[in-house]
């Protein structure tokens, strides 16, 4: 079956390769030789109308791996508060859940320790803090199809710290660095949010098409964005220590001629080199300093 996502999850004790597919989540040892764990998607009631596969993978809190999973609306909303004014059509609705897996330092005794249900739309991406979280800011951010962002703290139990409501535009990709949430959207915008307060700090008209990939270089705060418009941009995030203002500058643009960029990743933690993949492209393109 098609595997929509694959990610390396670096924990202090081990590195796992996590794959998602229509059937569920698989975890492998770093050399790919042993399957450590596999979890079948818990969606027996979901009508076939729904695109059922797990999306969003991140290592968090030193010993957890979080994966996004669509869940079926079973006639009640899992939130304490009131549900939406118009109950959605039960035959075609899913919402987004985040599965939290507890990973032992070695061996295969992985357990599903929590299911976080705060998203009303399918999860699109999950990112863990890659720098130093300021006090009060979370260390995990989850994003969904409606553009809603949830901020979590992963100490012992996962706690919801804040929610940034979406405006209907899919947040396709998200990154978290030094308390700054960088979010890429289907309409080509990049927005920077303050993780602690949930306020917007920057808005960039970055791309002319759907943003597919965001990546962050933790040593320098460089941000990489790749989109269907054939462009890959490198940005620099920073925070002014006096004013606490968040800054974003444009550093570099690459146009991958006649290619819709599907993936973009930095190849080193300082962000001096990056790799790009695209639709119908059988090569991985690598870019570095001249």
């Amino acid at each position: 079956s098609v595997s929509p996502q694959a990610a390396w999850c670096e924990l202090p004790s081990r590195v796992l390769l996590v794959l998602t597919s229509q059937r569920g989540v698989q975890m492998y040892d770093a050399d790919g030789s042993t399957m450590v764990f596999w979890h079948a998607l818990d969606v027996p009631e979901l009508p076939a109308a729904h695109s059922v596969f797990a999306r969003g993978i991140a290592a968090a809190g030193g010993c957890f791996v979080c994966v996004g999973e669509p869940r079926a609306w079973a006639g009640w909303w899992p939130w304490a508060g009131p549900g939406p004014a118009d109950p959605p059509d039960p035959t075609g609705t899913s919402f987004g859940a985040v599965l939290v897996f507890d990973i032992p330092p070695k061996g295969t005794n992985v357990t599903l320790s929590e299911v976080l249900e705060q998203h009303r739309d399918p999860i699109t991406d999950i990112a863990a803090e890659q720098g130093q979280a300021p006090d009060g800011a979370g260390d995990l951010v989850t994003a969904d199809d409606c553009g809603t962002l949830c901020l979590w703290s992963s100490r012992e139990e996962f706690t919801l710290l804040g929610k940034i409501p979406g405006s209907g535009c899919t947040c396709s990709s998200v990154a978290l660095w030094n308390g700054i949430v960088a979010a890429g959207y289907g309409n080509g915008q990049i927005r920077l949010w303050e993780a602690g307060s949930g306020r917007i700090r920057a808005q960039v008209s970055a791309h002319a098409r759907w943003i597919y990939a965001l990546d962050l270089a933790p040593l320098t705060g460089k941000l990489l964005s790749g989109a269907e418009d054939s462009f890959v941009h490198v940005w620099k995030l920073s925070r002014d220590p006096d004013t606490d203002d968040i800054e974003v500058q444009h550093c570099h643009a690459e146009c991958v001629t006649d290619t819709q960029v599907c993936g973009a990743r930095f190849c080193d933690p300082a962000g001096d080199t990056f790799a790009v993949t695209g639709y119908d492209l059988s090569e991985i393109l690598c870019y570095g300093p001249a």
Binding site: G186, H250, A253
Partner: protein, 389 residues
């Protein structure tokens, strides 16, 4: 991937097929029964188009099509269009059918790739349906069928989110991955490169709902904008004028999905030279697909059971050629590169006696409610079709 993709794939490919058939029918100017001497008669294309459109929008077929399901394989889908193209008195040789299918698929691949927003795939579909309605504007019965499907499309797809449309788009792009057949009309218009890849423009209007790239806005901790900066790139984008209509009637604005053929622009395909990708794909297809039998059974049952027009006066029909001459068609059949051949499924059918017996059994089970003069012919037709694949 998305389980709602098949109706869009089927309707858009069907629309492209009708554009091409319409153009070839006019170019070949088939003389009709009632054609007066010396007068060019466009009438014969009407019954052919009517028969195909009426079969395509058959209510039962549409009901099945709209059920959430995975996409058919390329082989199974090709068989559906074979049946559809032969739903009238028109006949197509293998080479012409191959060319027709190549053109249909590359055209829709182009449209999906260039859609500004994922949701615009719906506007492309509406463009095809608007044109189909024009083809059968004189037949209120068939027009009704098409309108019903139109309404079903609106009901099913208009409420979907951008994210769900993006999934549909990705499902379609995976289906079309690694197809790089060069199409003459695309090469001439410079929308396709000589290596078969489509040109992706970095200028023109941005999608509705997207801003022209270039602006950075900074806000302070109170949410007040405190700074603006600009950046430049090689792109040259402008704001769009208006959004296309998603209603039953309206200006779609988007040109993708409208008819790009005309009698003066003949269509040819160049077969791309062999490439590693295509060869490996061909190898993959040879492995027996246990579901292929199921798919064929289902589709054959649906389309085989439909009432297909019999030619008046007992004529056996006429043959449409997608090439300019019969010699060209013959030559194309002989020189088609192996890896682009659609014959692959046939290797299993003829070499495995068990499979052949199974297919015969399936044919025997096809529902024939009342004895129809042509039913034996249809059964043979299907077998011949599979033999000829």
């Amino acid at each position: 991937m998305s389980a709602r993709t098949l109706p869009l794939l089927f309707l858009n490919l069907g629309g492209e097929m009708l554009y091409i058939l319409d153009q070839r029918l006019r170019a070949q100017s088939i003389p009709g029964e009632k054609a007066r001497k010396g007068e060019r008669c466009a009438a014969p294309s009407a019954p052919v188009m009517n028969d195909i459109i009426s079969t395509m929008f058959n209510r039962k077929f549409m009901e099945e099509l709209f059920k959430p399901q995975d996409l058919y394989s390329k082989k199974a889908l090709r068989t559906v269009y074979d049946r559809l193209a032969h739903a009238s008195i028109m006949r197509l040789n293998q080479a012409s059918m191959d060319k027709l299918y190549d053109l249909m698929t590359m055209a829709f691949k182009y449209q999906v790739l260039l859609c500004p927003r994922p949701r615009d795939i719906l506007l492309v579909t509406f463009n095809h349906l608007d044109a189909i309605k024009d083809f059968i504007s004189d037949s209120p019965g068939i027009l009704n069928q098409v309108d019903e499907t139109f309404r079903r499309l609106i009901e099913t797809y208009n409420p979907l989110s951008d994210g769900e449309f993006q999934l549909i788009r990705q499902t379609l792009l995976i289906f079309f991955q690694d197809m790089h057949i060069r199409v003459s009309i695309f090469l001439k218009d410079k929308v396709q490169n000589s290596n078969g890849r489509f040109v992706l423009p970095i200028s023109g209007p941005v999608p509705w709902g997207t801003e022209v790239p270039g602006l950075i806005r900074i806000f302070n901790h109170k949410g007040v904008e405190v700074k603006r900066a600009e950046f430049t790139t090689a792109g040259n984008y402008v704001t769009p004028q208006r959004e296309g209509s998603f209603e039953l009637y309206g200006d779609r604005v988007l040109k993708l999905g409208t008819n790009m053929y005309s009698v003066t622009r003949p269509v040819e395909t160049h077969m791309s030279g062999s490439s590693k990708n295509l060869a490996s794909q061909a190898k993959e297809n040879i492995a027996p697909n246990p579901l292929a039998k199921e798919e064929l059974n289902f589709l054959a049952r649906l389309l085989g059971g439909l009432d297909i027009q019999k030619p008046a006066g007992g004529e056996s029909g006429f043959r449409l050629n997608l090439f300019t001459t019969d010699e060209e068609e013959e030559h194309a059949a002989q020189t088609r590169p192996e890896e682009l051949s659609y014959k692959i499924i046939n290797i299993e059918a003829t070499q495995e006696p068990a499979r052949r017996a199974e297919l015969s059994r399936i044919l025997g089970e096809l529902d024939v409610a009342e004895p129809r003069p042509g039913s034996a012919e249809k059964g043979e037709d299907l077998l011949a079709l599979m033999d000829g694949l």
